[in-house]
Symmetry: C2
């Protein structure tokens, strides 16, 4: 079983609906960009290709949980119609994309999901066109990289703006709009603070410890990937504040489990499944819970010399991976994941739960696919 089954098999049609919405958005933007010249229009085209390869996990989660609420509680008065819901859900995918774009600028990554990311695509196209002004090959490559990264940074700004525009333009009640804007603000601040903490630890500006690593994982991904779509589903389908908060809490547990699993997969997973450079986390010196645990063990002496080495060989990578497993770091992180999943399941199974049965089912099914995730 691969991927998020609940959001894949059950919702292939939904996923297409989100993709159609996003395609229309990018088609309109690409067309409007022509007036600024072919390079700017091309930037939009490349961005569209990049977005449409995604799993659409977050928007599908929002729509699925929204619908589960309405199926179970016919008395709910939703804040928006189906069309509005799909627009808002697509905006969450755009938010994810904006974060990826800026993370890639910060990390200097050129690949994502088996293929060049937006920066990598711009770089490829740029390498195909001859230039004259630069003197050395290195200077030429630096300039092309600068051009490609600038595209990633600027597209991130455009997409981030589009997220806000979508929410600000939707016809919601004033209260619902403010609640949704609060949630968006909270999600963005958490993600940015998490990225700041992540880079601070990697760059040696913030001291590394396991507690900070877990906080960072929570902030950087869990909030916007799980808390945001789940809470938005409760909010937009017109549920009580109590139900909103319970779903938000479930989202925080799921989100942390998801992020920790991401860290495990990128070190121990199969390259064919996740499509990332198999040792990129080690090469970048990425501070994860795995590394924080390993640092406390005697095996660290075997890992430290290659950790953060940009010229890491495959042999060194394999050795470090084996050491990370033997020292107990892998087992420890698997335990943390199980712990978060338990907390989530307990939360939705409590007798006093404010969540209806069908919403619980969606979450349980999400947990199950998360446990079997390979990419």
């Amino acid at each position: 079983m691969t991927g998020h089954t609940v959001l894949r098999d059950g919702t292939a049609a939904l996923r297409r609906e989100i993709e159609d919405e996003l395609s229309s958005f990018f088609a309109a933007r690409t067309s409007a960009a022509q007036v600024y010249g072919p390079e700017f229009a091309r930037l939009w085209e490349l961005a569209a290709e990049s977005v449409l390869g995604g799993k659409m996990l977050r928007p599908c989660l929002l729509v699925t949980v929204f619908e589960a609420f309405l199926e179970d509680r016919a008395s709910s008065s939703p804040e928006c119609d189906r069309e509005g819901l799909v627009r808002l859900a697509s905006a969450i995918e755009l938010l994810h994309f904006a974060f990826l774009l800026h993370d890639d600028v910060i990390d200097g990554d050129l690949m994502r999901r088996h293929r060049p990311n937006l920066i990598g695509s711009i770089l490829e196209e740029s390498a195909a066109s001859p230039r004259s002004r630069r003197t050395s090959v290195e200077a030429e490559q630096d300039v092309r990289l600068h051009w490609a990264r600038t595209g990633g940074l600027l597209m991130g700004d455009l997409v981030l703006s589009a997220v806000h525009q979508t929410i600000a333009r939707e016809r919601l009640s004033h209260d619902a709009r403010l609640s949704l804007l609060d949630l968006l603000d909270h999600s963005i601040v958490d993600s940015v603070a998490g990225e700041h903490l992540d880079v601070g630890m990697s760059d040696g500006a913030i001291r590394i410890d396991l507690r900070r690593i877990l906080t960072m994982s929570q902030l950087k991904t869990a909030t916007y990937s799980f808390e945001l779509p789940l809470r938005a589903a409760a909010l937009l389908s017109g549920q009580s504040r109590e139900a909103q908060e319970q779903l938000a809490e479930a989202g925080r547990h799921l989100g942390l489990a998801f992020q920790l699993q991401d860290d495990l997969l990128s070190v121990f997973g199969q390259h064919e499944d996740h499509g990332k450079d198999p040792f990129s986390d080690l090469r970048e010196g990425k501070e994860t819970a795995i590394i924080a645990y390993a640092r406390m063990t005697s095996s660290w002496a075997r890992i430290e010399p290659v950790f953060g080495a940009s010229d890491l060989s495959e042999g060194d990578g394999l050795t470090a991976r084996a050491a990370l497993s033997e020292c107990g770091a892998e087992r420890f992180v698997r335990f943390l994941i199980a712990d978060e999943i338990d907390a989530c399941l307990q939360l939705i199974s409590r007798p006093e739960s404010a969540l209806p049965e069908r919403v619980g089912d969606v979450l349980r099914s999400l947990v199950s696919s998360l446990e079997h995730r390979r990419a």
Copy 2:
């Protein structure tokens, strides 16, 4: 006479009002950031210091023109009260700040207005704290620079989000909100497209010619600095679409004049006045109308060898500056500025103008201070 007299002498109190609004915003954000750790809170503090050194040209322009409309047309029904107006005006300063932050990331700049910019400030603080992990001085400096630029990029995202939040939360009629959101979107897309074009020409990805240089100047600065506040003033004070469009057009002329003057000042102006590195444009190989003109003359042979040289000496800088003056580039750009100013003055003096006398007075006074600008 220094600076924008109309927006300085006449509006010292207004400027303080905007600064107070911005101070409150940053104080609240800094306080809320504590929960994420001292480094994130410090980022907000440094951002506040950076913003509050600004001239507040754009928000003052919005409020001044809004008030000129109301003084002259008692029958206007404004879309917001004074408090809302100040909030929205401050959001335009935040938009300017977000653009500066990301431009500085892209350009690698560390200074602005006689002092370190946000990236420069983070770098200074980072240099004061000892580290251990890095081996060479160069590697250490690269890592510190990465940390500082990440701060600039992430703060840009936070501030850009805050701009949208301010507009989305304001209690406006649905139509006024949509119009304001359209205007914001147009301003952001223009600025980003302008920056993309600017970098594309510098990096050799887009062919350079005078027409593109002028388009770039218009897009990158004129739209959000002049068209946005002027049109927003007409919109928020409840004027006709005709008046809005006329002001937007006046803003485009003023904005281009302003940007061209900026280019002149940074090459020919006094370092003590503008506070930038006196030869940074030459050193960065910044493609301006001055350079585009010079390229077409025989003097270019004297300028080209040092244009874009990161190790440009003061002597070479002075020689290049003299050549840019002698070849007629300086005179040509002064002529373009005078042409834009004439077009603006003609527009507001037309008998069929939709703009009231007092609004015309503000614009004329702005033109006058622009003509005498030194920084």
